[in-house]
Symmetry: C2
């Protein structure tokens, strides 16, 4: 196994283990057991674990121990999962499948899916507040940037822009850039920022982590748009062509695949430039390049 | 105006003002403006502001300044509002009215209501992390107890028990006590606890605040059940008799109004006993007694 794959594997394994720890349930006979099941069903549905890997990678590159980053890494994956569960709901995107499995509301019913998402929106703040591996100042800073990246000007704000765009016929590049920044960029950027905070990095380094993450998130979302057109349902684990089917405005629908790929290439180059400010960045450089070439 | 009414008015006024501050929006032309509108629509729908009043009352009784309690007080009201918005959704209780006005999904559509609830689940942690009036240690402790009281073993767990009970024909007193503790008690208890933490209270005092709050919450929920049967739709601001209509098991349906009233009386007495541990408790005593006699 290459160094890169070894490191990635280590991050993913650690994420799986810690996610299990943070959402276990000792009282198997409690009525809430179905809630925990629904949360775990979606948490364990796999996915790339990109966001936790970024938290660990920034923490380690900047000299922090991995265990310091465990709570923020699991927190960001829970928040990402929360958004996927609610995004799939009938009133939202109405997607029956996610990562090749029935989506949460298909498996557990709509009410339980709403509640499982809700619980995964709140638990992250509890596990960060409770971790013994960070100082109170680190926790407060992490919770502040994390909640901000999820809220009105972040992930949830992005979903709102998405909704509003459905009823709009004047979606332009500015709008899409803002949408991608909110919907995808902020959560990826905050992953990098949290990793840097766990390692007690200087403000300048934290800023570089944020700028890197925003560009990586932008490239990541455009590649997603491209794969939605060029990929197969089997490769993607979700229905291919769903953007076209639901008439969604994307970088691809607005500018075509070629220009979209160029925009992703440019954002990736910029991301790599920001990585120059990070020492021991070999893993991060390879991760960034791999994400540009991914097939799912 | 009596001292009690004056104090209550002061708490409510302060809550309204601070809620506005915490969820304002400077960029009126942003696409997220509709989200802020939906959040504010439900936040401003009134309600008793019981939970913020408890945060302020415990903080002041224990010698803390009111402004220290502002962020936790608004946070708990946001989390309460988040639960009401999601609870009213078609997939949940399917209530078209809340406090005499169309519920959030009726006014803004289901997708926006889901997102407004989501945003109100996350913003509380941001405003607590960002307030300049508390120490990092106070913030971390508050966020820990707050997230816990909302999560799997608290408010959201309570909603799950509620759901599970709909399909069960063996709901007994233990189950209902557990349900009321999760659904109502925890959020009221954590309001008292947060107020005490803002005032830097001793652990023993924080425990008394929690015990008081759990009993008050229990009494509060039983009175709610009673009013659902005896109140009019006009008095309640929501359809009377909705529990019977939706076939919900409550203290009243299980034991009748008289026994339910006795249980509320007893919980109120116990709550008042726990208040003995709190100095300057005149306001809290009167509040506790008033809640037993309320008509909405």
């Amino acid at each position: 196994m290459s160094n890169f794959n070894e490191t990635l594997y280590r991050y993913i394994e650690y994420t799986e283990k810690e996610l299990k720890n943070f959402n276990n349930y000792s009282h198997e006979n409690r009525p809430q057991v179905k809630l925990i099941d629904a949360m775990n069903y979606s948490l364990r549905a796999g996915g790339k674990r990109l966001r936790p890997a970024l938290v660990y990678a920034f923490c380690e590159a900047l000299g922090g121990e991995m265990e310091k980053a465990a709570a923020p890494a699991c927190a960001i994956e829970m928040l990402h999962t929360f958004s996927l569960i609610h995004d799939d709901l009938p009133a939202m995107d109405n997607d029956d499948f996610r990562r090749g499995k029935p989506s949460c509301h298909k498996a557990f019913g709509e009410a339980m899916a709403i509640l499982a998402g809700d619980a995964l929106a709140v638990l992250p703040f509890e596990i960060i507040a409770d971790t013994p591996h960070l100082t109170a100042d680190q926790k407060v800073l992490i919770i502040s940037v994390l909640a901000n990246s999820v809220g009105r000007d972040g992930m949830i704000g992005g979903q709102v822009i998405d909704l509003e765009n459905e009823n709009s016929d004047c979606v332009d590049e500015d709008n899409l850039r803002n949408l991608y920044r909110c919907k995808t960029g902020q959560l990826i950027a905050v992953s990098c920022v949290m990793g840097a905070i766990c390692a007690d990095a200087e403000n300048e380094t934290i800023r570089a982590a944020a700028e890197y993450g925003l560009r990586l998130g932008f490239a990541f979302q455009i590649i997603d748009d491209i794969l939605d057109v060029t990929g197969t349902t089997e490769e993607l684990g979700k229905p291919a062509g769903s953007d076209v089917k639901s008439n969604k405005n994307t970088y691809v629908s607005l500018f075509g695949i070629e220009k979209a790929q160029l925009a992703a290439d440019r954002a990736t180059s910029e991301a790599l430039e920001w990585l120059d400010a990070i020492p021991n960045n070999e893993f991060l450089v390879e991760l960034t390049e791999n994400l540009l070439k991914r097939k799912n």
